[in-house]
Symmetry: C3
Subunit: 681 residues, 3 copies
């Protein structure tokens, strides 16, 4: 399998020269040099330029750009250009346009206007990929294939007849017989029994709550169906250019695609990350995605394929990135294992739907632009950080995450509507405030490398996954599990007998009944040490059979009953939370659990981001500060990673960063950090 | 007409054995015995099991279940199984799928997927009903027909071409000529005059406000059209099994169906009731429906056909019923005249859209389940309450309610959007806080049996209804009428001359202009005794010609003008409120009006539910306490209805109930109740 | 060009006699006489009555009404009756029904059910207009043609295939070649390049953000396309009745139609105005529309074609007009140049979607109706105000407004969603609080007549408009410009180089980056005099090259940087606000700017509305008081305009008005006004 290797950290952006006259191209290459750009993603939206009429290709302009870039020392991540079919395709093949759940067939004027099942789109996009590969496969600038773009960003499900037919094929392959499909979908309920494959449909608009198992399979199919499109392009590229690595840009926690499955198709994982600068904690929002991306391919280094230099254009109100924030987030990506920092886009458009998305070269000329200066300076800074390419980020702690469980949880008709990401985000934030590296782990992955595995809300657990968790705890691992987890199996069938059906022995406790709270409702729990802390959203009737009770409910019909438990199981421990505590109490619980599991932690002030990475011969401590107040960090025996100078104490103002080298046996315990109160920020 | 008579209070649930393997069936019958179950509703969603292919029937499994149940002493309310057509029907007859107002034809995957006008659905469902009736009509377990299920729950209007054609037929029958239709619909307005029947359409999506008279007729048609479906099944059942009573389960204040009309088709009224356990007053929410159901068939006893043992699955956040609440609500249903308590459902599903709806046998085994214990105990308790079957609930006070007025009020383009049910609920709550039994009465019903009739908001009044009200007051009745009542006639035409057009003489007052308040806006009224109380939502320019002024407005351009009036008319009195007072002031007004009408009242603490019922030889006093604080109730000369022991004082903790026998001349005046402050709750 | 001249101020209403029996007609004419009605708008919704079947006309009833009215001294503004096609047309020509963005074809039951491109609707409506014109062109009652009604009120865009075809024709005419269209729409972006005209579509529902240039052209086309319909009718009328003026009723700030363009087709501008009586300032809401309507045709007198006597029916909650408000708003219209006051409608309907819209003759008989009395009194008052017909309202100050900029600003994918009208309204209110007359001015209009021109938010500026503004300032004018103005050109392309692209020299300042604030977020600015005031919604990184800094930001990364600047340019001054201050600070800034520009201002108490108009030989001062507290106004040398009596001091209670004659050299400086604290209101 070819390996992406630029010989340096990658730095660059999406480059869309087709929007600009030739005279701008040369200026662009000059400025790229100034900013240290060594890689651009080229031609993502150039199908209509490359093939202005069906079968009539025009490559001259792209030849010219490829040569210009190469001459300027810029390598190319070349797109297959299939992300946005030209209007002629939509007109000639009307069924290539996707259809909404209500049956509306979408129209030209935006992008990603294709039905993933349409044979014409499939054939034409694969032909384009082949044509591009054959023409540029040996071009010296080519270093990576950028297949399509942000799959599933707008169209992750199409409800047309073609997709219905493929859905039926997919179901046949999955279930073999209608008997098995009827069992899996529980069609004895509501007289839904299918007697013929032709009766089976996508979950289009229905009179009432749709069948949740059908809904879950539909999401699985939709992810797989788009993945087949992707595979078709990748296959051609691997055939024509076996030595050029391929990737496509993921979108982090995108609802539509099972990236754990997708990532196995790539030679390197790549991701687009757009945290909201006006959000409460952009670095946590971004950090979660960085850690996920690294986790998708077992800790391999990855690429930040797109971020914004400043504001985006697609939120209702788009704040700019304040000075320093873009650099700090970029360094955070490198800390978490990125091999390059790319932006959307190089030069800001003056027309179209993304003209207000920031870029390296904006509407304002570079010499007048703070954004340009920061981007240029970062490019130059990266030249001194190439040693990071050898580092690996290892984690003792994992957060379990799984698209199938997310899809199942998103089906209608639940005890309560519970958006998953805020829950996962709260647990992630609590763990990160303790300084520990965090992986995201698939439920059926090998857990043996972790000391502690957390399940913020793993609604669906297959028997295999449950068995893996049991073995993990038995073998000495620490499990921390949140409410409404382990409820259903892979068919979205409840495992009966008390919740969580397959893990009661591990928890030493079982749930009799759920008692979701109303929006705004609050209860309290009392901890063993007497503290009383608030809980919201969810409570449960929990019975501690053999588990130790860590906290009890204070009121309602469950007053005095267990709220949080701990159970020694095999060589390990299993913690169970039956409710949603606030951030402080959640952190306290996780701190205790991690300490019990022998995980080294640190106590960090608000906004201080710490990552430990391993080089072959030592460890790097990445300190990046996103908080509002300056902090001082003490790290005995540390030295500056670039200069080699001893640096046992570091003061970081907001958006400051430090990169320290620490001994190979360094433990987070040795780090102390506090507000630098006397230092003006 | 056959009479439903089980020889005991019915107790049981919907039973869906097709979701379970045979080994579970025997266990179910055993547990039913333990819980005192004597009736189950069987086969509601079994069409796809009974007729897996068109015309191919499979009854073996149902035979087996019927025999098993009968052997276990459980009788059957057998469904015609037509509520949810199987997928094969939707595929073979695509026009059987209903269409939304926007023209979206709905798809398989849920339930109730049928257009009420589709001839194929009609023919196939009637054939199924006949086949079931012929096979089981003489089965000894059969006691009641459960026709279809929750008609109009999801699909109460279908906008397809078939429905359009039937709408035109219905209109022809109603109006005879287009001239009359044009008059009734006021088509001189906005150039809507119809020159040919073919031009008439359902009120599909239109450029602006639709014609409200058309909208009203459409709702009438839609209710009648579904009723025709129902009649077609009932007809077959009456032909094949003339001795078996029929029913279908109503849904209380369902917007789509005129249950006053529907109830005349049943042999016994039955209703499904799902108050929100997290709501402010579940017992009022449920009690309204209980009283409505009894009122639909003139006070006859009725069946609670479905309720939940604990949580439902279809709200955004579904709270469980706290311990004791299910029993208390069940006893309340019996107090209000129910002849049985049934649940949805017997055994909780593990798959499908209702797997999180509670049941008697839940996901947790019975021996571990509080919900099971409560349900089992209630079943056993019911065996001691069979004497209730002879009781009747009589009311001196009625709340007027009418679907046609509700539909007219729901049309767009009103002085203000005024949801009806909160208004009716507020009046109902005020009346119930005074201890009086309450009926709901149709506007054209005979009112002579009541001492007081209230109209919280009766927007539409036919001339006949107005004449009935006039005669009622003239004859000595007391009328209490709220604002925006009596505005339009049966065609939704305003009766001109000052509002309410047909009742000004009765009120001795007339309304010149409405002045709806904005959301959150508040005004005040000053009562004769000097109290000043807040009003919201609505005010009016009211003129008291011959009426006495009970309250005046405090501010705005109507300062000093009448807000509330009373008028002696004939032998009776007519009260008029031109605004919406708060609960306390509304209760005060109603208290005065009832006392003036000679209605005995009591002053009840918050949450204490009191019902008086008449047996042949005496009266029963049902006391059920839903409030948060214990109360003590004094009832001289009362005795415990079960033990016969004297019981002049009762202390009730939350969800406690007492059933007392009181003398035939007992009056509510004799009851006193107060917070049991010194008693720990 | 024929001139509308009734010889008096017009007074009357829409009259829909087809809704009433003949006996009501005579009563109507009698009451019209009592109320001083001299003009009615007749037959607006009478197509179905005039042509009950295609080609079969029935005019007898209209002949009768025309004669009756004429006999009663009432003149007629006769409708072409094309606003609402009859159901037979929709049935015979299904494609005449418009289609939504989602592809839903709308249905009969409301009004305005026509696709503007449908040839059948076009032909039939033009034939009807001709037939009506030929029949009544010489009727002595006829004074004005009322063409169609409220064009674009409900259907301002139709997405059907016919409209798509006409859109392509319109684009061909605009751009000539696809090359030019591709350039203007920036189709190099997202692979949208069009290779054939047939590929071009309306901006129907798409997978993601639509192309904003396409969206802008679609709005332009939609306005022009409806205008063509209008022109087709007008052409026929001008051919048949060259001496009868034509008009159609505008809707003020209606989003869909470019009234600056439309107004050029009329002989007199007419407008329907419905401020919310429950709103914060109905007189500002209405006043903006009055001033816009006058501005559309260069200050010519105009007609208030519709207003409500009291409540409307189409808001969610419809407050009545309190006593006096209708008169005060009517006098305000006259002050701003109206030549007549008309209402919707004469007699309130008892059926249909507008039966709760108030009228002169309501549901309550006139003798019982406050609303009638006020309308009748106003009609009589107008007979003494005919001298107003010679007055002109001139303004030194203009607010720039333009539909094309509004459309561009309304496209998706902006730095922040910024509804335009609240911004324009805030600036208008601030200017009006200083007593000055205000025009609305088109960006490409001649600005030389003004001393000061304000641009609250002029997002789109063509190079011609920018040049006009530059010349205006150079020539001595004062410009006050708000943020996010001058960003794009006529193609919705950003003018690069720093914002605003074409006016940096005029401002002496330039914007590097936008920093929109989140909803609820607040910042502060510090003014030269030390005051610190709050700003919201928007901030900018603003650089003052040669401009004077009037205020700086207090915090965030732009602390200390300019927020407001002033620049001497040529003979004039250019002010720039980079943020949204509160009302007080905005007023302070505008006061200073106007004073610097030599504009006379007054300081007015809350709610006092002042207008100066010029007669040939003097000036009229219109004082109308909408505030909650009485005020006293001192105007030396003033006299009562009706009686001629000296009147140097006037006390006005809420809704009071005074009309004073002042010398030709009167300046607003001479007016002083204060709360009449000691006078009971």
């Amino acid at each position: 399998m070819p390996h992406f290797d630029l010989g340096a950290l990658a730095y660059g952006a999406d480059y869309n020269p087709e929007q600009w006259p030739r005279e701008v191209w040369r200026e662009d290459v000059r400025l790229m040099g100034e900013a240290g750009v060594n890689l651009v993603s080229l031609g993502i939206f150039s199908w209509a330029q490359l093939e202005p009429r069906e079968g009539a290709f025009e490559f001259g302009w792209l030849d010219e750009i490829m040569n210009l870039l190469h001459g300027g020392g810029v390598r190319v991540n070349l797109a297959t250009a299939t992300a946005s079919p030209p209007p002629w395709l939509s007109l000639a093949y009307p069924d290539s346009r996707p259809v909404t759940v209500d049956g509306v067939r979408l129209e030209v004027g935006a992008r990603q206007l294709y039905c993933p099942s349409d044979p014409h789109y499939r054939a034409l996009s694969v032909r384009l990929a082949r044509t591009v590969a054959e023409r540029y496969g040996t071009h010296p600038a080519l270093r990576l294939w950028h297949v399509n773009n942000e799959y599933g960003c707008h169209i992750d499900q199409c409800y047309c007849a073609q997709c219905a037919a493929r859905f039926r094929e997919w179901l046949r392959a999955r279930y073999g017989t209608l008997i098995e499909l009827n069992r899996a979908w529980g069609t004895a309920f509501w007289s839904q029994r299918y007697g013929d494959w032709a009766e089976v449909q996508p979950p289009r608009r229905a009179p009432s709550f749709p069948n949740p198992s059908q809904g879950l399979d539909w999401r699985r199919f939709s992810s797989d169906n788009i993945l087949e499109l992707h595979r078709a392009e990748v296959e051609v590229l691997r055939e024509v250019t076996p030595d050029i690595p391929v990737t496509t840009n993921f979108l982090g926690f995108l609802p539509g695609l099972d990236y754990f499955r997708w990532a196995q198709e790539e030679d390197v994982a790549a991701v687009d990350v757009y945290p909201d600068p006006a959000g409460a904690a952009p670095h946590l929002e971004a950090g979660m995605v960085f850690d996920l991306t690294r986790s998708l391919r077992g800790g391999q280094r990855w690429l930040l394929m797109e971020q914004a230099t400043s504001a985006v254009n697609w939120r209702e109100r788009n704040a700019p990135k304040r000075p320093g924030l873009m650099r700090a987030l970029s360094l955070q990506a490198l800390a978490r294992g990125a091999d390059g920092i790319q932006f959307f886009q190089w030069r800001q458009s003056v027309a179209g739907a993304e003209k207000y998305h920031s870029a390296l070269v904006g509407h304002v000329p570079p010499e007048r632009s703070r954004v340009w200066r920061e981007a240029r300076d970062l490019g130059q800074e990266l030249r001194g950080l190439d040693f990071l390419r050898g580092a690996r980020v290892k984690a003792d702690v994992a957060v379990m995450f799984d698209w199938h469980s997310w899809w199942a949880l998103s089906q209608a008709s639940q005890p309560a509507v519970t958006p998953l990401l805020p829950v996962v985000g709260a647990w992630y934030a609590a763990l990160r405030s303790l300084g520990v590296n965090v992986d995201f782990v698939h439920p059926e992955a090998d857990l043996s490398g972790y000391r502690a595995v957390t399940l913020p809300q793993q609604y669906l657990l297959t028997p295999d996954a449950a068995q893996g968790i049991r073995a993990f705890v038995e073998g000495g691992g620490t499990l921390v599990m949140g409410p409404y987890s382990g409820v259903v199996d892979g068919d979205d069938h409840v495992v009966p007998g008390g919740y969580p059906g397959l893990l009661q022995d591990v928890l030493g406790a079982w749930v009799e009944e759920w008692a979701p709270l109303q929006t705004g409702e609050e209860r309290e729990v009392r901890w063993a040490d007497g503290r009383v802390t608030p809980v919201t959203e969810w409570t449960e009737v929990l019975h501690a059979d053999s588990a130790e009770v860590l906290a009890t409910y204070e009121a309602d019909f469950i007053a005095g009953q267990p709220a949080v438990t701990r159970h020694a199981f095999g060589q390990g421990y299993a913690y169970y939370l039956s409710t949603r505590p606030d951030a402080a109490a959640l952190t306290d619980l996780l701190r205790g659990a991690l300490q019990g599991a022998g995980v080294a932690i640190a106590e960090l002030p608000d906004g201080l981001d710490v990552t430990l990475s391993d080089t072959g011969d030592g460890r790097l401590l990445h300190l990046i500060h996103f908080g509002p107040q300056a902090v001082t960090v003490q790290v005995p025996q540390a030295s500056d990673a670039r200069s080699g100078q001893p640096r046992a104490s570091v003061t970081l103002h907001p958006t400051d960063a430090a990169l320290l080298r620490v001994p190979v046996d360094f433990s987070l315990h040795e780090l102390t950090a506090r507000a630098a109160a006397s230092i003006p920020t």
